[in-house]
């Protein structure tokens, strides 16, 4: 039966062409398609421009914000908040994750509590943050770092739990001290999960930052969005949303690239 030649599956030409599009080809194809659709819908005049702006007016709004300087300041302010919040949250998350993964007492004291905190959405925290830290930078750092912390902690802890026993056995029967085992076996073994957690953390940093900036901020991309709502400037809103998307995707690509360098031994 094994000798019967299997009929070769021939893919239709279009599908072949699409699957063949690699690298930049595929995203460009997708963006081109959506842009065409967008132009068609707005060009047909079915929806009022003020509700659903055309690509051209979104582009003009972008140029306008760039020219009056708000775009650069907002970007800088938001990036700074996301970076600081991410920095605090991820350092705390990794540290505590390593501790709850390694030290039974810390795990017993903290895990049930932290697990309970995880389902609380970041947005729900904004009012508390504002009462505690005002509408300045403090409340943004708090909301972002808190969200990043929980995710990074969870992933780190999870990674620690799934370290294959065989690594620890090998390490101990090769005479490694507990400290050397922790630094050169446990941490690298958990690293793929930690890196995955950091990547999620970056995405969440943007998410929670915008949530915090939407309600109670006087600068930043989220604040500019809220301001655009007051003047019903959907063109600006669209511009800001696209910038947020591009920013998030770029940072994610960078984190992914760095992560791959860090855990180079991990396949797939």
């Amino acid at each position: 039966m094994a000798d019967v030649p299997q009929p070769r599956r021939v893919r239709p030409k279009l599908a072949m062409g699409l699957a063949g599009a690699t690298g930049l080809g595929r995203p460009l194809l997708s963006f081109g398609f959506i842009l065409t659709l967008w132009i068609a819908v707005t060009g047909a005049g079915l929806v009022p421009e003020q509700i659903f702006p055309s690509p051209l007016s979104v582009w003009q709004a972008t140029v306008e914000m760039a020219a009056n300087g708000t775009l650069a300041t907002d970007l800088a302010v938001s990036m700074r908040r996301a970076a600081i919040g991410f920095g605090i949250g991820s350092v705390l998350g990794v540290t505590l994750g390593l501790l709850t993964g390694r030290v039974a007492l810390v795990r017993a004291l903290l895990n049930p509590f932290l697990t309970l905190l995880r389902p609380i959405p970041a947005i729900a925290l904004v009012p508390v943050a504002i009462v505690w830290f005002g509408i300045g930078e403090g409340s943004k750092y708090f909301v972002v770092s808190y969200t990043v912390f929980l995710t990074v902690w969870f992933n780190t802890h999870h990674g620690m739990e799934y370290i294959p026993d065989i690594y620890l056995r090998a390490s101990r029967s090769l005479g490694a001290s507990r400290m050397r085992e922790f630094l050169t076996v446990v941490i690298p073994a958990a690293a793929p999960h930690i890196v995955a957690g950091l990547r999620l953390g970056v995405a969440l940093a943007f998410l929670s930052l915008v949530a915090a900036e939407l309600s109670g901020a006087s600068s930043g991309l989220g604040h500019r969005l809220q301001e655009a709502r007051q003047y019903i400037r959907t063109d600006r809103m669209f511009a800001l949303l696209i910038i947020l998307g591009a920013l998030g995707a770029t940072v994610d690509l960078i984190v992914q690239w760095v992560g791959r360098k860090l855990v180079h031994w991990q396949q797939g």
Partner: protein, 256 residues
């Protein structure tokens, strides 16, 4: 100098199962002479790995005693080296880094650490692959790195749990020669678990056969033959033993 005398006396091991404790190893007695090479063979699930994990200090016995050179075995130690079927190399270290890991506890100066690790890799003919990561090595090469790493730690006892089971027949033959050479040089006491009767007969001074689960040792053969061995050249001694072991391993073969 103490030299790797393993005594296992009436050792039994149980695991907590869903319906109460499960006996993984019935009371077993096994003494390994210093520098000897013992093969352990038995049906699947009879407790070979369990016995080995106990001697390695990975699992606690339910009863009985284990000593190495008259000192009780209470946990893993560099005196007892372990070679795993799944290699257990650290994928984040290079081949050289893995061997260095075993040498770290000696607190050597940098240059000497490097030289000794390279020498260990040379012994398994892998010096030219020192900078590669385990993911870039074949199964046979990985197991050679693991052997170099374990011997580098200077163990008195070497436990090997089906170390070559995942390798193809040809690689396995290469590994047999390599292991025999290294072992004759370092003279650790070896306990070698295998499912392959021929492998046991070719490598070991002594072959212990275990019963069906819960296992205990039911037969103990001494093989005083020169190395390298071959089933054909030493057929008059090896083949009758081989037939006996195969019958012992398949007692219900007739009705199966």
């Amino acid at each position: 100098m103490s030299s790797g005398h393993v005594r296992v006396d009436h050792l039994s091991i149980t695991f907590a199962g869903k319906q109460g404790p499960v006996t993984a190893l019935a009371p077993t007695t096994l003494h390994l002479a210093p520098g000897s090479f013992t093969a352990l063979i038995g049906p699947s699930g009879c407790g070979k790995s369990t016995l080995m994990n106990a001697i390695a200090g990975f699992v606690q016995p339910a009863g009985g005693a284990m000593t190495l050179d008259n000192t009780e075995i209470t946990g893993p130690s560099p005196d007892v080296g372990v070679i795993f079927q799944q290699y257990a190399l650290f994928p984040w270290f290079t081949a050289l880094g893995n061997v260095k890991f075993a040498l770290k506890r000696l607190g050597l100066p940098r240059a000497e650490l490097h030289d000794r690790a390279m020498a260990a890799l040379e012994e398994v003919n892998l010096a030219q692959h020192a900078a590669k990561f385990p993911g870039q090595l074949s199964g046979g090469m990985k197991q050679r790195v693991a052997i170099a790493r374990t011997f580098a730690a200077g163990p008195k006892v070497l436990l090997m749990d089906e170390p070559f089971a995942a390798l193809d027949a040809q690689t396995r033959i290469v590994m047999h020669h390599l292991l025999t050479d290294i072992w004759q040089k370092h003279r650790a006491t070896v306990l070698f678990v295998t499912h392959d009767v021929d492998e046991a007969l070719l490598l070991a001074d002594r072959v212990c056969v275990m019963s069906q689960a819960p296992g205990r040792i039911i037969r103990d053969y001494a093989l005083d033959l020169p190395r390298p061995r071959s089933l054909r050249a030493q057929a008059d001694v090896l083949l009758p033993i081989r037939d006996e072991i195969i019958t012992l391993l398949h007692p219900t073969h007739a009705d199966a």
